[in-house]
């Protein structure tokens, strides 16, 4: 059984879906954060898969960018979470609803 590109797409979709559902349903900010990382990586997987399929290096280049941006995002995001925890003694995002209209 050869592993064709469809398999990668399927895996990527599954990963993305899990990440998206995780972002929407979980309450723990760190878990949500991890779900976001999962969605980013599902995209990365797709880039790499298509780059190999099409014999084009551009997709792989983009993945590096994504990884760099994700790293920066993690740094900022974790700092935010730490700050929120310090003020609220909780990282349950249901308690963070200052934006309610």
């Amino acid at each position: 059984m050869t592993v064709t590109v469809e398999w990668y797409i399927a895996l990527s979709v599954i990963l993305f879906t899990i990440g998206a559902v995780g972002v929407l349903v979980r309450r723990n900010a760190i878990i949500i954060f991890m779900c976001i990382e999962m969605m980013l990586n599902s995209a990365n997987l797709l880039f790499v898969a298509f780059a190999r399929q099409l014999g084009d290096i551009d997709g792989q280049v983009l993945v590096f960018f994504v990884i760099v941006v994700a790293a920066a995002e993690v740094a900022v995001g974790l700092a935010l979470i730490v700050t929120i925890f310090r003020t609220k003694r909780s990282i349950n995002i249901d308690e963070i609803n200052l934006m309610k209209g």
Binding site: L24, I32, I93, N97, K100
Partner: protein, 753 residues
């Protein structure tokens, strides 16, 4: 000499300086130090009057040097309306007529100023009095110096104002019954003059309409031109209306006559003059006897051409000039009869003034303009003299009364109220010995007024009577015969009431303690009396008639006639019109020679009247202040004339009617109709209704729109804000859904395949 014409404006400038001095600072001088303050205030005003007099004398010399040729001194263009071709200059006409008037005004005016310093001594409003007196001179000189009717009218109104101010000078003095009689008298003068002044304005407007100008020379020139060219119909300037020339002239001359009846106190507007005696006596003397009241005569004499043309155009039927003569003669007789019944020394003189003004008006109406002016001048002398003499008598009586009030026990509370009035002749008597200078000067004035030769009044009155009697004049108008008899009767009345006055005031025994204690007045008052007495005597030489066409006194005969010849257009009418019209023009002529029939008769009447009064009727009575007057036995005299029929007519019929009309206007028209109906019901209610409408529109329309916008936004926001949950996942979900929607949008074509 002729360069003196250029200084003519000074005659107006001097009095106005006096007005400014006394009006602005005079009071401070007097308040600061009474004695010297009064001297400054009084003598400054007098000096200004004298300065004007000197200028007038210089003008007189200038006129003599230029052979009586008139000169117009233009001061400035006053009213210029190019579209109407109307140009009214403020110019002074210096001709023999105006200078004659100015000489009388400033000459007699100066003497009265001096007299006033003595008379007004101690009055709290000393400087105010002199302000008015100078202001009067200013306006009176404007009146006679103007070269057109409008400038004349400015002076006319100005002297009316001064008259009002001086009659009401003691406006806070109450009469015996508590009425403000002085203030009322001032108002009466003002209102009676309104009637005449309204006619004057109408006359001026009509003059402009007919002749296109109101400058004397232009109007008279145009009028002569119309007659010379047989223009029987004239077109009013600026309109298409045409009226007959004779009608226009009649209307103008009658309107000017009405103006003259107001200012010169003729029937039926004379009622204000006797009441005007409420003012200070020197003011009565200057304004209400010598000068202002002669403005009406001046107006008619100045308009002589219009009056003569009106007479000529009526071709022997009753003309406006005849009306003038009749009004004058009727006034002369009527006022003469009323003077019989007056007990107030000044009122007798006031009615006498009305009567004498009637003589002048009658003379002017008959065409005897020179005689009118002659009588005007002599009357100014002797009537000013009589009034000032009366002032001196009142002054003496007041001091006498003062003395007895303090003499008994040195207290003021000893006040026997016997109704004493310092002006009432019944309380006088025997003053001849107490006040000799006043008596002798008064006697001269009385003889002059009564018309007894050789005093001035005889000659001027005789000239008027002779004119009425002259046969060639009677041919022109039969009215002259009636006028002659009325004037002769009036002359008799004059002599009689003056004899009565003389007898009651100066002769017999004193009838009151005040008369016993009366004193002669100070020198400041008696010297002017002497000066005027001299003038009243030598006034003859102003216009001495000839005897059988030869000069009575070489060089001094008919002076006034020669002097005024150039200024009166009437003397040139015949020579101007006869060659063009080719027919004889009858212009009344005053005989230049004395007519011994008339002179004898008038002298007989005067002496007879005088002797009758002094030695027969008033020989014994009244023996006491409460005695009846002997003339009360004459039927009708006291019951009709004594009750002042015209005054009664006004106060019983006109004034109640007017008051009722005024009441109706104020209550019914003004309040009920105008206020309640028009304002309250119509205007206010409409406004309120409209305001209600606007209010509704504002509250429900504008406010509704703005509030609705606000509440709609709020409602919308309430709907939208529920989407903002504040939960991060909601926002994430919306991002996902958005992404899905975008995907569906972009992939739609592929999906549909």
């Amino acid at each position: 000499m002729e360069q003196f014409f250029d200084i003519a404006p000074l005659i107006l400038i001097f009095p106005i300086i006096g007005v400014l001095f006394n009006g602005l600072v005079g009071r401070r001088f007097v308040d600061y130090d009474r004695k010297t303050g009064e001297k400054w205030s009084g003598w400054f005003a007098t000096f200004m009057a004298l300065s004007s007099f000197v200028v007038v004398v210089l003008l007189n010399l200038a006129l003599q040097a230029s052979h009586h040729h008139a000169e117009t001194v233009l001061l400035w263009d006053w009213i210029v309306i190019p579209s109407m071709e109307l140009s009214i200059p403020w110019a002074m006409q210096i001709d023999t007529l105006s200078v004659t008037m100015m000489l009388v005004i400033t000459g007699v005016g100066s003497i009265i100023h001096i007299y006033s310093i003595g008379y007004m001594h101690g009055d709290p409003n000393f400087s105010r009095y002199f302000t008015y007196l100078n202001l009067f001179l200013f306006f009176m000189l404007i009146l006679v110096s103007g070269n057109n009717y409008l400038v004349l009218f400015v002076g006319w109104e100005g002297v009316g104002l001064c008259s009002f101010l001086l009659i009401g000078f003691w406006h806070d003095r109450l009469g015996k019954d508590g009425v403000m009689k002085n203030a009322n008298a001032a108002r009466k003068a003002m209102i009676a003059n309104r009637v005449g002044d309204a006619a004057m304005i109408l006359g001026i407007i009509l003059t402009f309409w007919v002749f296109g100008s109101i400058t004397f020379d232009e109007v008279f020139h145009k009028a002569i031109e119309f007659v010379a060219h047989h223009e029987e119909v004239v077109t009013l300037v600026g309109t298409d209306i045409q009226i007959a020339l004779s009608t226009a002239l009649t209307a103008i001359t009658v309107l000017f006559l009405i103006a003259a009846t107001g200012k010169s106190a003729q029937l039926v507007l004379h009622v204000w003059l006797p009441d005007a005696m409420a003012g200070p006596t020197p003011a009565s003397s200057l304004i209400h006897a010598a000068t202002m009241v002669t403005s009406g005569i001046y107006l008619i004499v100045r308009s002589n051409v219009l009056y003569e043309l009106s007479r000529f155009l009526s071709h022997g039927s009753f003309s406006s000039s005849d009306l003038v003569a009749l009004v004058g003669a009727a006034t002369a007789l009527y006022a003469g009869l009323i003077a019989f019944t007056q007990n107030d020394i000044k009122k007798v003189l006031a009615y006498s003034t009305v009567s004498q003004l009637g003589f002048m008006i009658a003379a002017a109406g008959m065409g005897a303009y020179i005689a009118a002016m002659f009588h005007l001048i002599t009357h100014a002398f002797f009537k000013a003299l009589l009034f000032m003499g009366a002032g001196s008598v009142i002054h003496g009586m007041e001091h006498g009364h003062h003395e007895i009030a303090h003499g008994h026990d040195g207290h003021d509370d000893h006040h026997e109220d016997d109704g004493f009035d310092p002006q009432d002749m019944r309380f006088m008597g025997g003053l001849r010995h107490k006040m000799p200078t006043t008596f002798w000067t008064y006697l001269v004035g009385t003889l002059a007024l009564a018309g007894i030769a050789p005093f001035a009044g005889f000659w001027s009155k005789d000239e008027i009577l002779a004119h009425a009697f002259a046969t060639d004049n009677v041919e022109i108008s039969s009215v002259m015969t009636i006028v002659f008899f009325m004037l002769a009767a009036a002359a008799f009345c004059t002599a009689f009431y003056m004899g009565r006055q003389l007898s009651m005031v100066f002769l017999r025994k004193p009838r009151h303690a005040a008369a016993e204690h009366a004193h002669e007045s100070p020198k400041l008052m008696t010297i002017p009396l002497v000066v005027l007495a001299v003038l009243a005597t030598v006034g003859v030489f102003i216009n001495l008639p000839e005897v059988d066409h030869t000069e009575m006194v070489p060089g001094a005969t008919l002076v006034l006639e020669h002097w005024l010849h150039e200024s009166l257009g009437v003397f040139h009418l015949e020579s101007e019109l006869e060659p063009i019209l080719g027919e004889d023009i009858h212009i009344p002529h005053t005989p230049t020679s004395i007519d011994f029939r008339v002179a004898g008769m008038s002298l007989l009447l005067a002496v007879g009247g005088m002797l009758l009064a002094v030695f027969v009727v008033y020989r014994k009575s009244p023996g006491d202040a409460s005695d009846k007057d002997p003339t009360q036995k004459i039927p009708l005299l006291w019951s009709v004339f004594g009750r002042l029929p015209v005054d009664s007519f006004y106060s019983k019929l006109i004034i109640p009617g007017f008051n009722r009309f005024a009441w109706w206007l104020s209550q019914k028209f003004e309040w009920k109709f105008w206020h309640d109906f028009i304002h309250e019901n119509i205007i206010r209610d409409t406004f309120v209704w409209f305001a209600g409408l606007i209010d509704m529109l504002d509250k429900q329309g504008v406010d509704g729109l703005v509030n609705g916008l606000g509440s709609a936004t709020k409602w919308l926001a309430d709907g939208i804000r529920v989407t903002q949950t504040g939960y991060a996942r909601t926002y994430a979900l919306s991002v996902f859904l958005g992404a899905v929607a975008l995907l569906i949008y972009f992939l739609w074509p592929y999906i549909m395949q």
